[in-house]
Each structure stands twice: as structure tokens, then as C-alpha cells.
Symmetry: C2
């Protein structure tokens, strides 16, 4: 085991600058219930980009340093600085999850020592580094033969997709609408819903995304770019009875469109018109901010509705420990099938900080996904 440990950090300084850089940090020593993991693969999720870039205007990004040790600087618009004051001057760690090999373990025999040499996935703590120290509770032991690359995305997308289905059940809905449905997360959700017999309406924007999901067995696919989108969505809602939706976009009118289509579907059997709309409760959860613009709600959907933020950790808290433990076990069991991720690019820690990579992965194009290999 080497003593070299490189970490990617994101720092905002008082002069309205963002700086991204690699730092040499100490090799960690595990406490009793901790292990040290050599991170071999970590995904670049949309939520990681938020931490990485914060509120910086990346069109102003400049690269300096060397190819092996690049430094990125970019301007942070002054109006965002007040809300960032707890970040100013601190080298913030980045990376919500990853996977690798346990190379050192604390003294606790069943918890830590049992993981020695195993391939594990890990959540939290800034995984864009070479060696991380983590509590065993943050680790998911992968089945023998699972690679770090296969296990790199064991938490954020799999648990979010499972939490959507469990939330649907817990809140009494019977089918799901998913926006930006061709994403890695969307593909997982499609596989879960097929396996569990839950009807899923996939909203995509492009014909090739329709084809991708259709080839994966999706039954309900509607294209929001189509002239018949609202009619298509309403017809699918009538067929499935979907009254809950998950949307990672937020900005724009899609949430409103979904609620209005749900209401048209719900109101079609109403004998007596009321200004309050149908009694059918309609829920849209917004779980991302792919569009940071305003969410515009054009109310034609009565009074039985909610639009809410959806955050994995809050959702898991609501679902409870038993459900969450079952979800984790299912992820480990099905990580190469139901929960398989597909990466289109692999980069080293240094390459994460190359301008041409940033230009590519910051687009967050559906179907494009980056994997970081910190040992490369």
C-alpha cells in the first residue's frame, strides 16, 4: 500500500472565484468500525456536479497547472456569494459514491475486519480520491465477482429508483410517471417496474430515447417533443391510473403538464362539475434541477395535488430502516442486472479537471455518463 493519496477538491474564495484542484492528503487510519477503501471507480452524477461547480459560471472556466496536475478556476457571480458563505475558504470534497477494495480495516471483528480485501460500494465522504476511510454502515459489500466499476453506482441511482417505487406504494398510488426517463436512473426504474409488475409511463424527448426504452421492454413511452404529447400522456394515465410522478428537471412547465393530464384523466368520469376539480390526489416529486429556471404551474388541476421536493435521504427516512435494508440487499444482489449502469466515458482524477471533459460532462446529456477511475 502506497502512501500517496490524491483528492479532488472544490474551493470558493472571497474574491468570487471557484478553484478545482487535486491535493495530496494523508493516508487515513481506520477506527474500530471503519475501513479504508481504495476507490477504483466513482460515477459523476448530476448531484456531484452541483458540489463540484457550485454556483460558478463555468463558461468563464480557465485551466492552468499541468496535464497531470490541472487547476480550474471560474467566476462565481456576485449575487450567489451570500448563500455560499459557509463554503468560502473551505476545500470541499466531492463525490457521493464509488466502489473499490478494502485495504485496511478497524479492529471490530464482525463489522470491519470481515470486509478486509472485499470489493465494496461506499456512500458519502467525497469519493473523488484514491483512498477513503468510511464507517462500515456506509459500505455495501458486493457479491463475489462484482467489479468496482459494476458497483460504483450502488447507492444514488439504485436507491433513488427503488425509493420511487416504495414511495408509490407507501402513499397509495398504483402507477408511476417518470420524466427524463432514458437516464441511467430511468433505465433502472424501468427494469424494477417490469420486475415488480408496476406500470411506468416514461417521458422522453427524443425518438432514439423512445427506441432505447422500447428495446428494454418499456410499455408506456411518451415523447414530450411530440405535437400529441398531452393527449398521449393523458391516454397513458387513463390506461395505468398513474397519480404520482417523479421529475428531475423542475424548471419549465412539465410538472404542470403532468398534473393537468392527471386531472383530465381523473375528471373524465365525474358526473357533476365542480370548481374544485376532482377528488383524485395528484403528486409530482421533483428530485433534481436539470433546469434551474422557474417551475411554472398553470393550474387547471383543482385542489387535490402536491408538488414536492424529493431527496433520497429524506425519502429513506420516511420509508424506515426495514424497507431500506431490503432495498440495499436487492441492490447488491442485482447490481449487474436490474441496477446495471452504463458509462460512456472513463476519466482519471486529473482528466475530470480538463476543460474539454468539463465541457462534455457538464452538458448532462441523457445517455452520456462519466466514470472516474482514481487509480488511473
Amino acid at each position: 500500500m502506497t502512501d500517496k493519496n490524491i483528492q479532488l477538491t472544490s474551493t470558493i474564495s472571497e474574491d468570487n472565484k471557484l478553484t478545482l484542484a487535486l491535493k495530496n492528503i494523508e493516508m487515513p487510519k481506520p477506527n474500530a468500525d471503519e475501513v479504508v477503501i481504495r476507490i477504483e471507480a466513482a460515477p459523476l452524477n448530476p448531484s456531484d456536479l452541483g458540489v463540484l461547480f457550485s454556483a460558478a459560471d463555468m463558461s468563464t472556466a480557465k485551466q492552468s497547472g499541468t496535464d497531470e496536475n490541472p487547476v480550474i478556476t471560474a467566476d462565481v457571480p456576485a449575487q450567489f456569494m451570500p448563500s455560499l458563505k459557509t463554503r468560502v475558504g473551505k476545500a470541499t470534497q466531492v463525490g457521493n459514491e464509488g466502489a473499490g477494495t478494502v485495504v485496511a480495516a478497524g479492529s471490530s471483528p464482525p463489522a470491519a475486519q470481515a470486509l478486509m480485501g472485499k470489493t465494496v460500494a461506499v456512500i458519502g465522504g467525497g469519493t473523488y480520491r484514491q483512498f477513503i476511510c468510511a464507517n462500515v454502515q456506509s459500505c455495501l459489500e458486493l457479491k463475489e465477482g462484482t467489479t468496482a466499476k459494476e458497483g460504483a453506482s450502488s447507492f444514488v441511482n439504485p436507491l433513488t429508483a427503488l425509493a420511487m417505487v416504495e414511495t408509490m406504494r407507501a402513499e397509495g398510488h398504483k402507477a408511476i410517471i417518470h420524466a427524463a426517463a432514458a437516464s441511467n436512473l430511468g433505465q433502472m426504474l424501468n427494469r424494477i417496474c417490469i420486475a415488480d409488475g408496476v406500470d411506468l409511463i416514461n417521458i422522453v424527448r427524443k425518438p432514439e430515447q423512445e427506441k432505447l426504452l422500447r428495446d428494454m421492454g418499456a410499455k408506456y413511452i411518451v415523447n414530450s417533443s411530440s405535437d400529441t404529447f398531452l393527449a398521449d400522456l393523458t391516454a397513458a394515465i387513463i390506461e395505468t391510473g398513474a397519480t404520482i410522478a417523479f421529475d428531475p428537471i423542475g424548471g419549465g412547465q412539465l410538472t404542470s403538464d403532468i398534473l393537468n393530464c392527471m386531472e383530465v384523466a381523473a375528471a373524465r368520469d365525474i358526473k357533476e362539475h365542480t370548481i374544485y376539480g376532482s377528488d383524485t390526489f395528484k403528486q409530482v416529486y421533483i428530485y433534481g434541477a436539470l433546469d434551474r429556471g422557474p417551475i411554472t404551474l398553470n393550474r387547471n388541476f383543482g385542489f387535490a395535488w402536491a408538488v414536492s421536493g424529493f431527496l433520497l435521504f429524506n425519502a429513506l427516512g420516511k420509508l424506515g430502516t426495514d424497507t431500506v435494508m431490503k432495498m440495499r440487499k436487492r441492490v447488491a444482489d442485482e447490481i449487474t442486472t436490474t441496477f446495471a449502469s452504463n458509462y460512456t466515458h472513463e476519466v482519471s482524477l486529473a482528466e475530470v479537471l480538463h476543460l474539454q471533459s468539463i465541457a462534455a460532462y457538464s452538458k448532462q446529456a441523457t445517455g452520456e455518463k462519466y466514470l472516474i477511475k482514481p487509480q488511473a
Copy 2:
């Protein structure tokens, strides 16, 4: 007891016309659990205007007939007709509540007969008429000495205001924000909160509304027209810990402003910045549509939030029968104090259909309130 019974009706016809007219209807005969009430006073609530005018463009309204038997016609824009198909051709009754004297009672001794001759308030059924037949469960017996005018608004505003406080308690919040707070409903909510020791932040638009509420003992009043509105609201939220708001407006940015101020208040103690915002759950209930324009949410408030429709009957269903029975008893006990309504105009059924009255009451100006006297 006369045989004359006049009812106000609202009808939409297939040629995109709204017609408001008075009709002679039969004098009702009560079944065992029913009573016949001579309606002596009924309020014009915003929710009644929605039924009365439906989607008609009232700027096109014309009056015909006589002063005693007026007829109003107005155009319904073609785009709204599809959503109104269950209303077309039906003479829809109007009036959500009212009060008067029980002049006939069904055979059931304890339920119906016990109300004979009493002054009662009644919910539902189209109270803009002279004599109405109602199930005793829809009636609230008023205390001896309470007049029909005093009891006319015993349901919609009092129960909505009480449901807000009970919902705050049931959902674990500790203080309330109320928009359009100088309304009759807002004044009731202010009195309830003072009596119950609940902190209430009143949002108003005008200095005279600030004065009105201040004279009624309100402690927290912020003016949304002020340059310092956001700072004032944030300061009041910090002082009270309010994380739930009720807004009858909907359209525009107020809901968004409230959530953002709540988040600023919640985030001020956070040591470590996160892109997901604070853990503090923030709820805005929209209970009206004073502004039918789009609701615009400018998200700077993280992921722990919900914006939901709030409808009295759904809210009562969630709160449960025991709570609702206590609420009804409190309304009857305190109808001339906590739940007192203030009417600025009294009109006959015919006068409801005079163009100059329509022009006045359709403005829904805060502080203006119309009472209908069907026996006048």
C-alpha cells in the same frame, strides 16, 4: 308558510353562453332526517363566485329582464367549453352556506324535530334560495340569540381558519404564515391564533390592512408591497419558526418568496453548505385562486418542501371526525366573537344579478364582503 320559493341558478348552454336567473321552484318536503330552512342570510364567498360565473368572461355581461327578475348573460370563451361539459344545459345551484329558521322538520324526533323553530347554519346545497331542504348533519344549531346574519358564515371561513391551525398542529409546525391576511378569514385566523397562543405572520398589501390587523392585536404583519418585504418576512420567520403557510392567491411569486424566506431562515444556522438546502421541511398550502395566473416557483429553497392544494373538505377528512366535531362546537360557541364576519353590503337575490353589484363584488376586494338576504 308561503308557497313561493325562489332560487338563483347559473346555466351554461351549448352556444357558449352563461345565464344567471331566478327561478320559482317547489317548496321542499323534508324526509325523516331533514329540515326545511328559511334562508335569511347567505354570504358571497370567493368560492361561490367560481360556481356563479364559472369560466364566463364577465366583462361581456349584459342584464335583461326586470329589476325584480333580472337575467344576466355573458360569453364563455370557447377554449373553456370542453372542461365544462358536465355543466352544459344544467341549471346549477349556487351558494355554499347560509343561515335561517327551521320552518319544517322530518319525523325523526331527536335529529330533525329538535331543530324546529331554531336558527341554524347550513352547509351546501345551493343556499341562494328562499327555502332549502337539508339533512340535519349539514346543519349547525346556533346558540339562542344568534341571528341568521351572525350565523350566515358558520362553515366556510370558520372551519377553514380552524383547519389551518389544526393542520399546523397535525403536521408538526409551530407557527403560521397567512397571505391576504386582512380578509374576513384572515381576521378569524388572527383571533384564533391569539386565543390559542399560536404565532401568526400576516402578509398584507396595504398600510390600511396593516393598521386593521394591528388594531386587532396582530403581532407579526408584513407588507408585500414594501421594499423590505423579503427581509421583513425572513425576520418574522426567524422569530416565530413558521414553516407552514396558507395562501389564497396562488398566481405569481408569493409562494416562491415564502419558501425562499423560510429557507434563508432555516439555513442561517447550518455549519456546512449543501446543494440540497436545509433539512427543514417547508410547506405552502394554496387554498384559493384569487390570481388565476401561473404559480412561479424560483427554487432557492432546497429539496425539503411541498406546495399543495388545500381544500376544506379534504382537510377535514384528514383531521378526522373527533377534531371536526370539536371545531363545529367551537364555531357555534364563538360565532359572534372569534368567528364574527363583517359585511359591507347587503343585497336581495335579485340584486345579486344587477350589473352594478356584479361589478362591485366580483372584484373580491379585501375588506369588502357581500351578504345575500333571500327574503328581502
